[in-house]
């Protein structure tokens, strides 16, 4: 296959970026998208140029490292698939592709297709944990959990934090990510003691990081490689209202 690539090249955080054209004449349909870039990078390096920077780690679709826009869709055209698991057979011979990094103020470009997603880490640090004494693991069946709650929590916990939701959202909102991290803990008994303070603090941190707001477009859900449902966002909204308007002030609350 022959692919024509337009790749966003940017030398650093404050540098001005631009698209650069690359012609890839010998692409095998069995290659993953990242393998195609590996081959292209070898050629670029052999010509004495800087290779295209992109993030990757497991290449199994479970680590959340990889991801960029391909022709205006986060992770490319295949639903529920990260870029590393996307294969060239999903494209046609001669296709022209536009590769762009996630674009959001809270995700500054580090280089080329790599963005800094530590804003996500700070949202999790704000409340995406449970406080518990460590020691031997408790008896697994000691705390009964409803099957549907466990299922929903597990679905939300599948979030790999890749950032596709933010990238695809017309508002650059991190609502799907934050809502998934909240639902993951808020639906389980272990998450109950800190449910309200968590709901408040993670939403506040999401705003502090400079993400946009949710207008229920559902573009995020459509590109999420793990199929996280937007219904988690409705639960987040309800949790935030309960935490800020319908409960008495708590220690550590942001409006103290």
């Amino acid at each position: 296959m022959r692919m024509k690539l337009n790749v966003w090249r940017q030398n650093g955080r404050d540098a001005k970026g631009a698209f650069q054209k690359y012609d890839c004449p010998d692409v095998s349909e069995h290659m993953s998208f990242l393998e195609m870039l590996d081959v292209l990078n070898e050629r670029i390096e052999s010509e004495g140029q800087d290779p295209i920077a992109f993030e990757h780690d497991c290449r199994e679709g479970i680590c959340g490292s990889c991801g960029f826009m391909i022709n205006g869709a986060a992770h490319g055209p295949q639903p529920r698939t990260t870029v590393c698991q996307l294969h060239m057979r999903s494209f046609k011979d001669g296709d022209e592709l536009w590769l762009e990094p996630w674009r959001a103020k809270a995700f500054p470009v580090v280089r080329d297709l790599v963005v800094d997603r530590t804003a996500f880490d700070r949202i999790v640090q704000a409340g995406g944990y449970i406080s518990t004494n460590t020691g031997s693991a408790p008896e697994a069946n000691a705390a009964p959990i409803r099957k549907d709650s466990a299922d929903k929590s597990f679905d939300a916990a599948a979030c790999i934090g890749c950032g596709a939701c933010v990238a695809m959202c017309p508002n650059a909102s991190a609502s799907l990510f934050t809502a998934a991290k909240l639902a993951h803990l808020n639906l389980l008994p272990q998450g109950q003691p800190e449910r309200l303070i968590r709901s408040e603090k993670m939403v506040v941190q999401m705003d502090v990081e400079g993400f946009g707001h949710c207008t229920n477009h559902s573009d995020c859900e459509a590109v999420c490689p793990k199929g996280i449902s937007v219904t988690n966002i409705a639960m987040m909204n309800l949790g935030y209202v309960q935490a800020t308007l319908l409960s008495s002030p708590r220690e550590g609350s942001t409006d103290d």
């Binding site: 022709n71 869709a73 508002n171 999401m206 705003d207 559902s218 409705a234 909204n237 935030y240």
Partner: protein
């Protein structure tokens, strides 16, 4: 009162305010349309209804609720639209909608069109009865500050340019209401699959009822069926 301020400052809080006020304005448009259906039962009914609405306590209570809702709805939305613009200073060269719809992405345009519709509608049929008597109307009739609702409405909408304006404005209202009504259910925390299906059906039915009713009234006046 600090907690109310921090609620308003958060994007989720503002969204909830926009949703609640949107729900109130949706209720207002629905009852307004139902009231106007009296154009089909005759001048007497409609003018009596108009006179009832012009009792000072009813009039000013209604105006306060609608004005407060609109102010909060619009200031909240402006805040959110600006936050979104700030959140992505550099746009994409290519961006392809995956699930979002025409009406969901045009809320910030259909909203201002509805606002223009609202202001023009006031100038057409309300301000003529207020001190100053400004009316965008072929022949505005009123007695002692109470407008002759039936005559004013039927005469206005019998003119093709105004009828066209009202039909176009109602289609924009429909775009705004459909996404708004469904979206506000999610914003207010509805997350069950069954409730969301119900919300979608309700949003469609309400939108079709309001827009259909308003357009039916307009067409009836234009074609001089009433």
């Amino acid at each position: 009162m600090n907690f109310l301020l921090s609620f308003w400052r958060s994007t989720v809080g503002t969204k909830v305010v926009v949703a609640v006020t949107g729900l109130m304005l949706l209720g207002f448009t629905l009852f307004h349309m139902i009231g106007n259906l009296q154009v089909f039962t005759g001048a007497e009914d409609m003018n009596a209804y108009g006179a009832f609405l012009h009792k000072p306590e009813v009039l000013w209570a209604g105006r306060c609720v609608v004005a407060t809702s609109m102010i909060l709805h619009i200031t909240g939305t402006v805040r959110l639209v600006r936050a979104s613009a700030d959140a992505r200073p550099q746009g994409y060269a290519k961006w392809k909608a995956q699930a979002s719809t025409f009406y969901s992405r045009t809320m910030k345009f259909s909203g201002p069109i509805v606002l223009i519709y609202f202001v023009v509608h006031l100038l057409n049929l309300t301000t003529g009865a207020e001190p100053g008597h400004i009316a965008l109307h072929p022949n505005y009739l009123q007695t002692d500050g109470v407008p002759k609702a039936f005559e004013n409405l039927t005469l206005l909408l019998a003119t093709p340019p105004w009828a066209t304006f009202y039909i176009v404005a109602n289609l924009a209202l429909g775009l705004h209401l459909f996404h708004g009504a469904y979206s506000l259910a999610k914003t207010l925390g509805l997350s069950g699959a069954r409730q969301l299906r119900l919300a979608r059906v309700l949003a469609s039915v309400l939108t079709a009822t309001i827009v259909g009713g308003n357009i039916a009234i307009t067409l009836a006046c234009l074609l001089r069926l009433v």
